[in-house]
């Protein structure tokens, strides 16, 4: 049995489509209801849907043999897993954004609002810039508007939300896409079926 963890939401739906087209379908029940666990006994596949940020945890603890997680989450939490494939879906980027026309004052500590504390810290450490991290859980865009922070570090997909709020990207940090990850122990015992899945998915991505 190959256990696969997928993130709930749009990325999970897209990841499932790729997996289904590669021959790892689970009937047409997926996504039609609020069920979170799907099994295809014949094929020996079991899917479960978990919060995107939790996918690497389920994989690292071996509950799932493989899973699909965004590079943003992998960089933020550095789980001890194999990262076997760039699925090329869910493309976006981690970026620094600020109010339109923002000019940085280098004489004082930069206030950075973000959900991605580790990614933001690593980025500014590389620049030797003194910062104060303000950790928020959502609606990061409001922070510079209400002057809670100077800039934000967040995921930017199309940039529409930023635009609508009078913000713009001032620097890109890294590109993001969905990755296929695997538990290191499971990989040893199921290497044949996991490698087969990687090859089939590679073929599907190229199409």
């Amino acid at each position: 049995m190959l256990n696969i963890a997928l993130p709930t939401g749009r990325l999970g739906d897209r990841a499932y489509s790729v997996l289904r087209d590669a021959g790892y379908g689970c009937g047409d029940v997926f996504g039609d209801n609020r069920k979170l666990i799907f099994k295809n006994e014949e094929q020996g596949i079991s899917y479960f849907l978990v919060k995107p940020v939790d996918v690497p945890i389920y994989v690292e603890y071996g509950i799932a043999d493989i899973g699909v997680a965004g590079k943003d989450i992998l960089i933020e939490h550095s789980p001890d897993v194999y990262e076997l494939l760039d699925l090329g879906i869910g493309r976006c980027r981690m970026a620094v954004a600020a109010k339109n026309g923002y000019k940085e004052d280098n004489n004082r500590t930069l206030r950075v609002a973000t959900k991605f504390v580790n990614a933001a810290k690593a980025f500014y450490r590389g620049k030797s810039r003194e910062i104060e991290i303000i950790k928020l859980s959502g609606s990061i865009e409001t922070a510079p508007l209400l002057e809670l922070s100077d800039v934000i570090v967040d995921i930017v997909e199309t940039g529409t939300t930023l635009k609508e709020n009078g913000l713009s990207v001032i620097e890109e940090i890294f590109p993001i896409s969905a990755r296929l990850i695997a538990n290191k122990s499971s990989y040893n015992f199921k290497s044949v079926i996991i490698n087969e899945a990687v090859e089939k998915l590679k073929g599907e991505i190229k199409k």
Partner: protein, 371 residues
């Protein structure tokens, strides 16, 4: 009295089997105290898996630390020479910060260290002991082998000299992350054909089969350092392939340990059902050199706590027999009755009432001093 190993916890039963394996291989038990001077760790911080260490002062103000590692203490104290090697095994607690929960944990470790020789036999002996140790935990195990000399040579072949570049590439190698490695190698100016060879070796394409991987390594990599490592691996494989473990020992070049300490063969062991590696180690001649010991050394450690966490041995009953006695029963009668019942080999709990929430195979009442 004989010890019923079925009644031991997984941690204890595995350890007693290991003790027997190591003892029969001529290794002697080594006992350490629970703490060390903090400076030992400060000077070798990158050897440790976590930099957070529990420290405290002794009566003279000297800074001490609860041991986060066993190997450093053994290396510091060893008097091993080439002629007079030391082969030791241990079972010790180490104290480390858990990266995810950010809390200190006490981890029970068992392991072996073979100091003195750096010949092929001593390497082989450690590899086979590692395989036998994993088998003692679970018959369904996998022992992965890599070679630090090969990895260093491979990076040198790629023209990588900068430590920062090497560190980032190592990170991708460890995660079998071929896609990001390809992009990064191009940025770092690694020739495309060299990068592709590296990618083929870490991708796990051949299911890490020892023979196939050896062939691929010999074909793809041409430097003299790597050739030397491949030759060593070939000699090792020639012995391994005729042992019962040949199918369970794999060659996986995605395993990389700290290059400042490890030089030759490195090991990582897994058992089915435990999601993290339970065994790790390798040849650490470089660590010995840092302590001015001019001998080779190799060893490994097994995380017994990790093993115990996944092999629960919750017994169905709290005791085989509950011996219930009344207020009128004489202490001597109760004692004799319990002793009589224990003769059958089962466990007997004597109590004046049935303990809440506990289960027994049998409840026996004592009346007038008789069962």
């Amino acid at each position: 009295m004989t010890l019923d190993t079925d009644k031991l916890s997984k941690e204890d039963s595995v350890y007693f089997t290991l003790k027997d394996i190591y003892g029969r291989a001529g290794y002697t038990h080594y006992r350490l105290r629970k703490f060390e001077e903090y400076s030992l760790y400060l000077e070798n911080m990158s050897f440790l898996t976590s930099e957070s260490i529990i420290t405290f002062n002794d009566a003279d103000g000297k800074l001490l630390a609860l041991k986060p590692d066993v190997t450093l203490s053994i290396v510091k104290n060893t008097k091993a020479t080439v002629e007079n090697g030391e082969k030791l095994y241990y079972r010790e607690s180490v104290y480390r910060m858990d990266a995810r929960t950010r809390e200190y944990r006490e981890i029970c470790q068992a392991g072996v260290e073979s100091m003195g020789g750096n010949d092929l036999y001593s390497t082989l002996e450690i590899i086979m002991l590692a395989a036998e140790s994993l088998k003692a935990i679970d018959c369904d195990f996998m022992l992965n082998i890599s070679h630090m000399g090969f990895i260093r040579g491979m990076l040198a072949d790629c023209g990588i000299t900068s430590e920062a570049v090497s560190a980032e590439i190592t990170e991708y190698i460890n995660a079998k992350n071929c896609h990001d490695l390809r992009i990064f190698a191009e940025k770092a100016g690694v020739p495309a054909d060299k990068a592709e060879s590296l990618i083929e070796l870490i991708s796990g394409k051949n299911d890490n089969d020892f023979e196939n991987m050896l062939r691929a390594a010999g074909r793809l990599i041409t430097g003299s350092k790597t050739a030397q490592a491949v030759a060593e691996l070939e000699e090792i494989y020639a012995v391994i392939k005729d042992t019962p473990y040949s199918e369970r020992i794999k060659l996986d070049f995605s395993i990389v340990s700290d290059m400042n300490y490890y030089n030759g063969i490195i090991l990582r062991g897994y058992v089915r059902g435990v999601p993290k590696s339970v065994l790790s180690g390798g040849r650490y001649d470089k660590l010995m050199k840092r302590f001015n010991k001019a001998v080779g050394a190799m060893g490994f450690a097994i995380n017994l706590s990790e093993v115990a966490a996944y092999y629960g041995t919750k017994p169905e009953y709290d005791a085989d027999i509950l011996l219930l006695y009344g207020n009128d029963d004489k202490p001597g009668d109760i004692f004799n009755a319990a002793r009589q019942l224990r003769k059958s080999g089962g466990s007997v709990l004597a109590a004046c009432s049935v303990p809440e929430g506990k289960k027994f195979k049998q409840i026996i009442c004592l009346g007038d001093g008789n069962i």
